[in-house]
């Protein structure tokens, strides 16, 4: 078939993304659905290693222990707080306190009364799978902030911020759409979280970067002085592991192992990542004359974030376009943020916020489902953006006043590894530590 036909055919796919489970789900179908969801869960888990590697690789060796520590801490905090309260706030069921806006069905996790594993989610997954898959998502949102504020944020302050953000803010905005709240009712659509996960992290990253100010020496005499990442193989491992995890992030968001739906989401996700690479490579090679590895890695992630909102509702050709544009966007965004003196060492704002917004809006432009409109998408972006700005701003502000946000100049100079942990990441290796 020709490329033209292909779009036509892909358009006609919108039919099967509607859930078409067997009329009476049985143990067999539950078992396979649930197995897939567990696979998706461990894939999302490995994204945390991806974040740790990417962020560590794109920053300086003297802050590496600190970054690894933050990422290890956050996943523990994210999982435990989600078990304690997050899950029951995000999916309150009937237990809305403010209808469609704020719900909470109690502390802790445990099987609902009259639990029947097949009936629980119509044969799609068990209660425990439901919890864990969502818990892994929650931890992701906080991790996004970590990279943006790296190399200067106080460890304790950051962990406190993450704890509150992941325990309260993420579940609340999540409940608006995935928990069946008011945005859902408005017709807003965000398949796997371009906005609900990535932008939620991205907005906090933006506020954090703005409150902290740039790293020492980044902007001198009105010029941008790049501060090179110290370990490109590590960054590459990080980006590839994130991509790997995205198969679970998007593929699992089908919330069943529905063969056509999951495999179609795999295809759109993969091709968007690939075209994100091409987009970033093209801009970086042509515009900046030198093909920049860190940009190309960001490009793949940009494509992935971009497709996340609409992976199941756009055509293959649209997925390639969304990814490509995200890849282009991310490069310009990185340069633009530097122009604004917003110092984001790993490009977290550009990847997760900018491309998260782009992906969410792209659903309005490209979705094969006529009910998705640009304006509802914009509404969702704005509502969640506003709430995140407000809450993360308040939070960072209070923490700044009480504990302080930024390490001392001398600690920043000698590195947070020695300052916060009294350890080095690469003992024995020799460095030029002039930066």
């Amino acid at each position: 078939m020709l490329l033209g036909e292909c779009q036509f055919l892909a358009l006609s796919l919108s039919m099967w993304v509607e859930p078409t489970p067997a009329p009476m789900p049985n143990l067999e179908i539950l078992t396979v659905n649930n197995t897939w969801m567990l696979v998706a869960t461990f894939l999302v888990f490995i994204m945390h290693l991806g974040f740790a590697c990417l962020e560590a690789g794109l920053t300086r060796a003297k802050n590496t222990v600190n970054i690894l520590f933050k990422n290890t801490g956050i996943i523990a905090i994210g999982l435990l707080t989600f078990a304690l309260c997050g899950f029951n706030m995000m999916y309150p069921g009937e237990a809305w306190r403010i209808s469609g806006v704020l719900g909470f069905s109690g502390m802790g996790i445990g099987l609902p009364l009259n639990y029947d594993q097949i009936a629980y989610a119509n044969g799609a997954y068990t209660y425990w799978t439901d919890f864990l898959f969502q818990a892994m998502f929650a931890a992701t949102a906080a991790t996004i902030v970590s990279g943006a504020v790296a190399e200067r944020v106080k460890l304790g302050s950051f962990l406190l911020f993450s704890l509150i953000y992941v325990a309260l803010v993420y579940p609340i905005t999540g409940s608006w759409h995935w928990g069946g709240g008011w945005l859902k009712a408005e017709g807003f659509y965000d398949f796997a979280g371009s906005t609900l996960v990535h932008s939620v992290g991205g907005w906090a990253a933006l506020v954090g970067v703005w409150m902290l100010g740039p790293r020492m020496g980044k902007y001198a005499n009105g010029k941008v002085k790049p501060i090179m990442g110290h370990n490109m193989p590590l960054a590459t491992i990080g980006a590839f592991l994130l991509w790997l995890g995205w198969f679970g992030f998007n593929g699992g968001s089908v919330l069943s192992a529905d063969p056509n739906a999951v495999s179609f989401v795999f295809v759109t996700t993969t091709l968007a990542a690939a075209s994100g690479i091409i987009g970033a490579m093209a801009v970086s090679w042509i515009w900046q004359r030198k093909p920049d590895l860190s940009m190309v890695l960001n490009g793949s992630l940009a494509g992935l974030v971009g497709i996340t909102a609409g992976a199941d509702t756009v055509s293959v050709v649209a997925a390639v376009a969304i990814g490509f544009i995200a890849g282009v966007l991310v490069v310009f965004s990185v340069v633009f943020l530097d122009f604004l003196k917003m110092d984001d060492p790993v490009g977290a704002i550009s990847v997760h916020l900018v491309c998260g917004i782009w992906g969410t809006l792209a659903v309005g432009l490209f979705s094969t489902n006529p009910q998705h409109t640009f304006w509802t998408q914009l509404l969702g972006v704005a509502a969640i953006g506003g709430f995140c700005l407000l809450t993360s701003g308040t939070l960072f502000f209070c923490i700044k006043k009480v504990l302080g946000l930024r390490v001392s100049e001398s600690e920043e100079l000698e590195g947070l590894d020695l300052g916060e942990h009294g350890m080095e990441a690469y003992t024995g290796f020799q460095f030029f530590t002039t930066q």
Partner: protein
């Protein structure tokens, strides 16, 4: 001709370079070093035990200069390298009895001019 060797804080290298360049001293060589002087070290912590690190990271600068430039060189090193805190480092001045540019074969003052 003199050979000036200075140990400075790593993070002062950019400032020292700037100060040298301003005085038209462009030819320098730099190595990584660790050192101890009046500055006390710090402690590292690893798996429940402490390690005293008393050799701190420094940068070693070596500059071959003609006598006329000696004061300027020392001045630049102090201007760029001084913070007033313990650990700023030291400058050594030695006699240079000969020197040679490997590319041109020039000898003596001309080689470092």
């Amino acid at each position: 001709m003199k050979l000036v060797v200075a140990y400075i804080r790593p993070d002062r290298l950019t400032a020292v370079k700037k100060a040298l360049f301003e005085r038209q001293i462009y030819k320098i060589s730099v190595t990584n070093a660790i050192g101890c002087g009046q500055q006390r070290g710090y402690h590292e912590h690893y798996r429940g035990s402490d390690l005293e690190v008393d050799l701190l990271k420094k940068v070693r600068i070596e500059i071959g200069v003609n006598d006329a430039f000696l004061d300027a060189t020392i001045g630049a090193l102090i201007e760029g390298g001084q913070t007033g805190e313990v650990g700023d480092g030291i400058i050594f001045v030695q006699d240079l009895i000969d020197c040679l540019n490997i590319r041109t074969g020039e000898r003596g003052p001309a080689a470092i001019g």
